[in-house]
């Protein structure tokens, strides 16, 4: 009996369902539930990886060769913000699509995760302006402003990597990698730091988009 045959039987008991059919139904139902009820993380990682790669890459191109250094140009910052907004809308759409009709503790977990990212990002962006307002020079402000998003995302990812009693390895690995890039990349100085974040940060997120399904299966 094929997997769909039993479904056409409506509420009737499908007598004689063999074990192979049962295994096929379980496999198909499990795959469909995973596909429909979970936001597609490889897509999300790919989108955010491109934001970091292109956005920070554009900022690096805008400061390369500046003498004296006066920070990323307005068009480069606008590019990053525009990419950020596109990725944020895509993320909201994918998460909303997957979580429609789902209730319970995971909704609260997701809410606290988003709140932590938003509050952390907002607080550090204000702090960057505070540092600039206090008279810090442009290289220092650029270093802090560039590192802030990675630090926030890295800390939140590491702090939330234990989900439902299981370790979310992709989230933990990516969180630690972003923290390492944000902390160690700064030694390269403000100009090269933007390139380091674009390549190592964005590249790391894109790599995770490629290997995440395999990591979750193992």
């Amino acid at each position: 009996m094929n997997a769909q045959a039993g479904m056409r039987g409506g509420a009737g008991e499908a007598a004689g369902m063999d074990v192979q059919s049962a295994a096929a139904i379980m496999r198909e139902a499990h795959q469909r539930a995973r596909r429909e009820l979970r936001a597609r993380r490889p897509v999300l990682f790919a989108a955010w990886g491109l934001v970091v790669l292109i956005g920070y890459g554009a900022m690096w191109l805008s400061v390369r060769g500046q003498h004296p250094f006066h920070g990323p140009t307005v068009p480069a910052v606008v590019t990053l913000v525009a990419l950020f907004l596109v990725a944020a809308v895509l993320t909201a759409w994918l998460v909303d699509r997957a979580s429609t009709g789902v209730g319970g503790p995971s909704v609260l977990q997701r809410g606290s995760f988003v709140l932590a990212l938003a509050a952390g990002g907002f607080a550090l962006s204000i702090f960057t302006h505070v540092v600039a307002n206090a008279g810090a020079d442009r290289p220092l402000v650029t270093l802090i402003g560039a590192a802030a998003p990675l630090l926030v995302v890295g800390v939140v990812f590491v702090a939330s990597c234990a989900v439902n009693g299981m370790l979310d390895w992709p989230r933990l690995a990516l969180g630690l990698w972003l923290l390492a890039v944000a902390a160690e990349g700064g030694w390269a100085g403000p100009v090269t730091y933007l390139a380091v974040i674009a390549l190592a940060g964005g590249g790391g997120i894109l790599l995770m988009a490629a290997i995440e399904p395999r990591m979750r299966r193992s």
């Binding site: 479904m7 049962a22 379980m26 139902a29």
Partner: protein, 102 residues
């Protein structure tokens, strides 16, 4: 249990799909009736019939919140339901292993 050890409550295609779908949610989460219907592809009447049988066996729990247009019926797998599915999966694997040559 049936003769071959497969739980007869779960060993029906529609109910097997329902239980596997609910088991894919994190422990403690529930799914609205309409989303479950969308995922399983049954008519509301058929879904209610199957849910009633699962509820009678203690495998799922349904809860109705609100009233009128804001009413939401949620369905969740119980611990007993999750254990029954684990047991069913084990038996299916054993039967498949014993049936495979070599």
């Amino acid at each position: 249990m049936s003769e071959d050890g497969l739980d007869p409550v779960i060993h029906v295609p529609a109910r097997l799909r329902i239980v596997v779908t609910l088991a894919s949610l994190p422990d403690g989460d529930d799914l609205s009736f309409t989303r479950l219907q969308d995922l399983i592809g049954l008519t509301p009447g058929n879904l209610i019939t199957h849910l009633r049988k699962l509820e009678d066996a203690g495998y799922v729990q349904t809860e109705r919140n609100g009233s009128g247009t804001t009413a939401r019926t949620s369905v969740a797998l119980t611990h007993g339901g999750r254990a029954a599915l684990d047991n069913y999966t084990t038996v299916v694997r054993q039967l498949l292993d014993s049936a495979s040559p070599g």
